[in-house]
């Protein structure tokens, strides 16, 4: 067939191309809208249900016994903060170091085994990781504890953070590393101060997604940290957390508790949202100044 630019074939072809273009553009717009709407709906509904109990005492007081009106989730908020922080303290450096190893040093069988394990581990249901920590920590200690909860959250974080770090470091072109080596710098310094430094803000964003993810974990904490109606700061004692407290209150038959569960859900969403926002502001790609 001749490709006469004004022939019927070309004109038809052009029309079809236009139609396909419009079709796929509309599909994209619709998909995007659905995502945004879903977020809006979740946020809106939780806000609507949670707002009545979302007040100052909610943040400052402990749960009241059944029948008494009021009370708050101070214990759960403190518990979540402790466990997410300690879990992050363990999991974030561990994950980043694993990612650096995979991207910068890992070659051959061992590295691919590590990579495969990280992939597997990140797809293991978190409840199983909770059971694992139950066996290795809760049973020997003979009690549920904040420490076990933190360790569980750390284990959930590590594979995600490791893979994110690896992928981001692999985006750094190799000639950047060579430029560092050519300045007469040892490889570890090039890795740490040039390669990792250059991707730092992107890695932190990834890390915060992982942290936000684990701050909503419920099931594995039931096996490890359990719950606690009292405010406590010790790592070797059972401790409350927002998701577990929400779970407990949501399945209870008391209206007041149900309302508080919604407020807790709202607090959790705000918490995750704030983590994302703050890291974005603090770790915006910036350049260190002369002074």
């Amino acid at each position: 067939m001749s490709l006469n630019p004004l022939g019927d074939f070309t004109r038809l072809h052009y029309k079809r191309r236009k139609a396909t273009n419009i079709l796929f553009c509309s599909l994209m717009v619709v998909s995007t809208l659905i995502v945004v709407l879903a977020l809006g709906a979740v946020f809106g509904y939780v806000l609507y249900k949670g707002l009545p109990a979302f007040n100052w005492p909610f943040f400052t007081s402990l749960p009241k016994p059944v029948g008494e009106v009021g009370g708050g989730m101070l214990n759960a908020i403190v518990g979540s903060l402790i466990m997410v922080s300690l879990g992050g303290l363990i999991g974030v450096p561990w994950g980043i170091l694993t990612g650096v190893y995979l991207s910068e040093y890992g070659r051959g069988k061992f590295a691919s085994t590590v990579r495969f394990s990280a992939n597997m581990l990140s797809s293991v249901p978190s409840i199983i990781l909770g059971l694992f920590v139950y066996v290795i920590l809760v049973k020997p200690m003979h009690r549920f504890s904040a420490l076990s909860g933190s360790l569980t959250l750390a284990i959930i974080m590590i594979p995600t953070i490791a893979r994110i770090t690896e992928e981001l470091l692999k985006l750094v072109p190799n000639h950047i590393r060579e430029a560092g080596l050519a300045l007469g710098l040892p490889r570890w310094k090039v890795t740490l101060r040039i390669v990792l430094r250059g991707s730092f803000s992107a890695i932190i964003t990834g890390v915060m997604l992982a942290v936000a993810r684990v701050s909503g974990e419920t099931a594995p904490l039931l096996f490890t940290a359990l719950n606690n109606q009292f405010l406590q700061f010790r790592l070797d004692q059972p401790i409350s957390s927002l998701p577990v407290q929400i779970y407990t209150y949501a399945i209870s038959p008391f209206d007041d508790w149900n309302r508080q569960a919604w407020a807790g859900a709202y607090a959790l969403i705000v918490f995750v949202f704030l983590i994302n926002l703050i890291t974005r502001v603090i770790f915006k790609p910036t350049v260190k100044g002369l002074n």
Partner: protein, 251 residues
């Protein structure tokens, strides 16, 4: 006087031999151009001179490379120490990401543990002036290095390499990603820098080799075919292959 002498240098990528018994010597404060078709081993060769070749997985090299009287290919020589004496500029401008212009220039010193602000500032100014970039960036030292134009980025990389004061500077096709004006600036720079430093430049551009170099080496298929004064190589080459390459019969 020769500052760098190469004897029987061989290089491999795995089983593949990329360089075959190269013997060459470089005079100090001269510019030597390495020419030859793609894949002839020019880049591999200069990457052997600062022991960067061996950083490629599976790559290895053997032979003698004598830098200021010291063979850098004997056991126990730390490649990190050698690379401080043999700087390198790459094909693509590669300022370090997320570092400012200033931090890029002093990266080699700062990461080697020199933290005194006054020293770093002096070195930065001196290196940027040597690289003919100072006037253009003196007011934007705090901006990201990657915000400069391509030609400026390449001069920034040259300044960065000069900041650690290496006696030898390797340039691997430093202008192949640049426009003609930036290229001309880099060429001027090469000519002015040879007062301070010995330069070895790989280029695909034969006019460039003719313009900037004192000596020229022609490589083909991992062998050194001919080495001599640039004027001689480009006017009366001794080898037939050299003549054919220079006149554009192949390559």
């Amino acid at each position: 006087m020769s500052i760098l002498k190469v004897n029987n240098l061989n290089a491999w990528f795995g089983e593949h031999r990329a360089l075959n018994n190269i013997k060459l010597s470089f005079d100090s404060n001269k510019v030597t151009a390495l020419i030859g078709p793609s894949g002839c081993g020019k880049s591999t060769f200069i990457r052997c001179l600062n022991r960067l070749h061996e950083e490629t997985p599976g790559a290895s090299a053997s032979g003698q490379v004598i830098l200021q009287g010291e063979n850098i290919y004997v056991a126990g020589v730390d490649p990190v120490r050698i690379r401080r004496k043999v700087g390198m500029v790459f094909q693509k401008p590669n300022p370090f990401p997320a570092l400012s212009v200033f931090d890029n220039v002093v990266a080699g010193l700062r990461l080697a543990g020199i933290g005194r602000k006054s020293i770093l500032r002096d070195v930065a100014e001196k290196s940027l002036k040597l690289a003919a970039l100072w006037d253009e960036v003196k007011d934007k030292l705090n901006q990201p290095g990657t915000s400069l134009s391509g030609g400026q980025q390449q001069r920034l990389c040259i300044a960065r390499a000069l900041a650690v004061e290496p006696p030898v500077l390797l340039m691997d096709e430093p202008t192949s990603a640049l426009d003609p004006i930036s290229t001309a600036k880099i060429e001027e720079l090469v000519l002015s820098l040879k007062k301070e430093i010995t330069i070895i430049i790989v280029t695909h551009n034969m006019q460039q080799a003719a313009r900037v170099s004192d000596k020229t080496a022609f490589f083909l298929l991992g062998e050194l075919i001919e080495f001599g004064d640039t004027s001689q190589i480009f006017t009366v080459p001794k080898e037939k292959k050299t003549e054919e390459y220079i006149t554009g019969k192949f390559g």
